[in-house]
């Protein structure tokens, strides 16, 4: 259920961010709904098969989207599947998509694709431990180690959950390949992380990849919504709106970090994760 909601919402989310960025730079901006038509157009187009490519080239976009959607299935915003340890399966499903996305980038024999591929791997190494520790801390503070039993923010667990929220916010920027980790609008292949992996994917394959990137961001927004008090779906809408605004401002006024400076930024994620876990262990 949640997966379907995310699939419907994903184009609107990325469209709104683009619209806001245009307005902030005094351009008129295309309607946020244009993304839907853009996707429909991409899906109906033919795609380009690079001469060297193998079936892995198609598995990349397929599993990137399905992995992200399957991860969304475990979010109990709407009725779905829930069990102890479901957040671990969800994060590893994102990894499943990432594995094939990185391979698909190498599949073309392109130097740029390979660059994007190992940069993506580097971001994962930096971001994953903190995210999993933060989610583990939230699960420990709640009941039954599942997403359905996550606690909501209150005075008794404010410290741990605020740290978890901070860690998830950094993770969203890293996972969604947004500034300051990556620049989604860059025009120079040498600086790309996410886009460099998609250089040779066109038509429906590009559509799947773009959907996957937005669904991943919505997944992290959904995780944050679970930790906030209030009716789940409404809170989720609020979180998504807040993220659209935040991304719009961040990407208009912020700059992308130099690639070698990434560890400085993403180590905050690890720090928040460790602190949150320690807080959960000592029940602060």
């Amino acid at each position: 259920m949640t997966a379907l909601l995310f699939l419907l919402l994903a184009p609107l989310f990325s469209g709104s961010v683009k619209w806001l960025k245009a307005r902030l730079t005094h351009r008129q901006g295309a309607s946020p709904l244009l993304e839907y038509r853009n996707l429909a157009k991409l899906l109906s187009k033919a795609w380009v098969r690079p001469g060297l490519s193998t079936p892995v080239f198609l598995l990349g976009p397929t599993l990137a989207l399905l992995g992200a959607l399957a991860a969304a299935l475990f979010l109990p915003l709407l009725p779905g599947l829930s069990f102890a340890g479901d957040f671990l399966v969800a994060l590893y499903l994102l990894n499943l998509g990432r594995f094939f996305q990185m391979l698909a980038a190498l599949d073309t024999g392109s130097a740029f694709g390979a660059q994007g591929s190992y940069r993506e791997g580097l971001v994962t190494i930096l971001a994953e431990p903190g995210t999993l520790m933060a989610l583990g801390a939230a699960a420990l503070a709640g009941e039954g180690l599942g997403l359905a039993g996550l606690p909501v923010l209150g005075p008794e667990n404010a410290l741990v959950l605020l740290l978890v929220l901070a860690s998830l916010a950094v993770a969203l920027l890293a996972e969604g390949a947004r500034m300051p980790v990556d620049d989604p609008t860059t025009h120079l292949e040498l600086t790309m992380v996410h886009e460099a992996q998609l250089l040779d994917h066109g038509g429906p394959l590009l559509a799947l990849y773009e959907l996957a990137a937005s669904v991943k961001m919505l997944f992290y927004a959904g995780l944050m919504a679970l930790l906030l008090p209030g009716p789940k779906v409404l809170v989720f809408m609020g979180v998504v709106l807040a993220w659209a605004l935040a991304l719009g401002y961040l990407e208009t006024f912020g700059v992308k970090l130099r690639y070698l400076r990434l560890p400085d930024f993403l180590s905050y994620n690890t720090l928040f994760g460790v602190l949150a876990l320690l807080g959960a262990i000592w029940k602060l």
Partner: protein, 552 residues
């Protein structure tokens, strides 16, 4: 010992005798297959009957043996000169491993243990002059392991549990590549021929784990520090091995480092079990063993088809042999810990074990996540550079029907274990995530793939930025791909340049220990002056001292 194990032991003896004369015959393959099948049956009976650790080991050994039965005769056809010796020794090596898993503690156990070490050494050393360094490392490690075990077995009843368990930790830890005793493994395993590497990494290392697990029934429960040592060294060793493996240019060498990583996680699971007694850890411990044996066996046997093992000289192998590419991709995806693989199921149990554990143990989750992310990077590098992209050199590929069948056997069993991991965990009474949800995902992925593939497309060259055309040399090489990740870890330094150099401080520590040992032996050597007068003086002094001790 059960009847099934007896039958398989006889079949293995028969196979080794037949192998000496007729290694290429169907009879050899049949006897080896019979030995494997009966081991699978007997081991499975023991595991599903009363959840015995020996059962798990015999089960996985049997599975590997069945794959080898069809793989080995054809593989040895490419090495006709050494073939009879290999065909003779491999079944004996299998027999020694069966013996270790079945022998009672004490001298019979040590007999089979040393026999296994000796046969393993011979199998590595047979590969010729370029394997000598690896074989020597294997031999030294076996001696260290033996020393630890003699301390434990002979000291039983005389020494306290701390000493006994220190001996066991070294004795079995060396075989299971416990950090920092793991250095021998990536030197010795990859230089052997591929079927032997598969047996060493897939099966023999598991006997170290089996020994540590059984030791609690032989020697009583371990002291608390043993559990902590296993968790800390296991997790750190897993991270260390993956980072070091990222700097490895040899395909089989990298696979050996991945074995150290997987064994580190299994050791951490065992340590967690010692500390908390939770079944979650036990489930992770056993499931990971079988999963690792299957996927590592598949990858080592698959790499046996290649004439070139330097990743930087491979590339584009998928086009030449899609079947090999698909099977290796399966093995590497499982090895990277991706759902719904068996290794993922084991790691999932381990994560939960750590989260439920008391004290600071939940911090282990961070180490596990780092291992997961590094393993992703590690296997993308190996598969992407060797099997995808443009070919970078001429590589000969040999994969006949027999070898192909052996690979398929392992792949089918691996898929089965990945789809139904909870069946394997039944004897422990340990539940798992609802794995049907992951099958649905795979079915949907298959459907989406079948929808995309026939959609209109046109073939075109890879995007080259509009400048000069791409050449295969523009793809990153094996070290270039991992250099950004290596920057992050202080225990390894890679100097890039025309000739990249790798600096591993741990290796220097070992060199220092070796030099210190040499210095100490040279001191003792001074006694062996060769002068008769000096020896007579020494004898007199000894006599005086002994008389003094006795009389006073």
């Amino acid at each position: 010992m059960s009847e099934g194990v007896m039958v398989s032991a006889l079949a293995l003896v028969g196979a080794s005798l037949v192998g000496l004369r007729a290694w290429g015959s169907g009879g050899y393959a049949l006897l080896l297959g019979l030995g494997g099948a009966t081991l699978v049956q007997a081991g499975g009976g023991m595991w599903y009957g009363d959840g015995s650790a020996a059962g798990v080991f015999l089960h996985l050994l049997g599975l590997l043996t069945m794959a080898l039965a069809s793989y080995v005769p054809e593989y040895l056809g490419h090495h006709p000169k050494e073939a009879p010796v290999y065909a003779f020794l491999v079944p004996l090596f299998l027999l020694a491993m069966v013996g270790v898993a079945q022998a009672p503690p004490g001298l019979p156990f040590l007999f089979f243990w040393e026999g296994m070490a000796l046969l393993g050494y011979l199998l590595v050393a047979l590969e010729g002059p370029k394997a000598q360094a690896g074989a020597r490392a294997f031999f030294l490690a076996s001696r260290l392991s033996g020393a630890g075990l003699y301390l434990a077995f002979l000291g039983q009843g005389h020494l306290g549990p701390d000493w006994i368990w220190a001996g066991l930790l070294v004795g079995f830890g060396v075989k299971a590549a416990l950090f920092p005793f793991h250095l021998w493994l990536p030197r010795a395993h990859p230089v052997a021929i591929s079927p032997v590497s598969a047996l060493l990494s897939g099966a023999m290392t598991k006997l170290g784990l089996y020994g540590l697990f059984q030791a609690q029934t032989w020697f009583g429960p371990p002291p608390v520090w043993v559990g902590f040592a296993l968790v800390l060294l296991g997790l750190f060793g897993a991270v260390y091995a993956l980072v070091r493996g990222l700097a490895e240019e040899d395909l089989k060498g990298a696979l050996a480092y991945s074995s150290v990583e997987n064994l580190g996680l299994m050791l951490a699971a065992l340590g967690g079990y010692f500390l908390t007694g939770k079944v979650l850890f036990l489930g992770a411990f056993f499931l990971h063993q079988v999963g690792h044996a299957l996927f590592k066996g598949l990858l080592f046997l698959g790499s046996g088809a290649l004439s070139e093992r330097q990743v930087s000289r491979l590339g584009g192998l998928w086009h030449r042999m899609p079947l090999l590419g698909g099977l290796v991709l399966l093995g590497m995806a499982v090895g990277a810990g991706l759902p719904p693989g068996a290794v993922f199921a084991a790691e999932w149990l381990l994560y939960q074990g750590f989260l439920f554990a008391p004290g600071l143990l939940p911090l282990g989750v961070g180490a596990l996540a780092l291992v997961g992310a590094l393993a992703l990077y590690f296997y993308v590098r190996l598969f992407g550079l060797a099997f995808l992209g443009a070919p970078r050199g001429n590589v000969a590929l040999h994969l006949g029907p027999g070898m192909r069948f052996g690979l398929l056997v392992l792949a089918v069993i691996l898929v089965g274990l990945s789809l139904f991991p909870q069946e394997f965990l039944r004897p422990l009474g340990q539940g798992l995530y609802p794995s049907w949800a992951l099958w649905v995902l795979l079915a949907l992925a298959f459907g989406l793939y079948r929808w995309l593939d026939p959609r209109p497309s046109r073939s075109y060259g890879t995007w080259d930025c509009g400048f000069q055309p791409l050449t295969p040399r523009m793809q990153p090489n094996a070290l270039g791909f991992s250099e950004p990740a290596l920057r992050l870890f202080p225990f390894l330094r890679l100097k890039v340049g025309e000739r990249p150099e790798l600096d591993e401080p741990l290796e220097r520590v070992y060199q220092g220990v070796g030099e210190g040992f040499g210095w100490a032996t040279r001191l003792v050597q001074a006694l062996q002056s060769g002068s008769l007068h000096f020896y007579l003086l020494l004898q007199l002094l000894t006599l005086v001292v002994v008389m003094g001790v006795v009389l006073l």
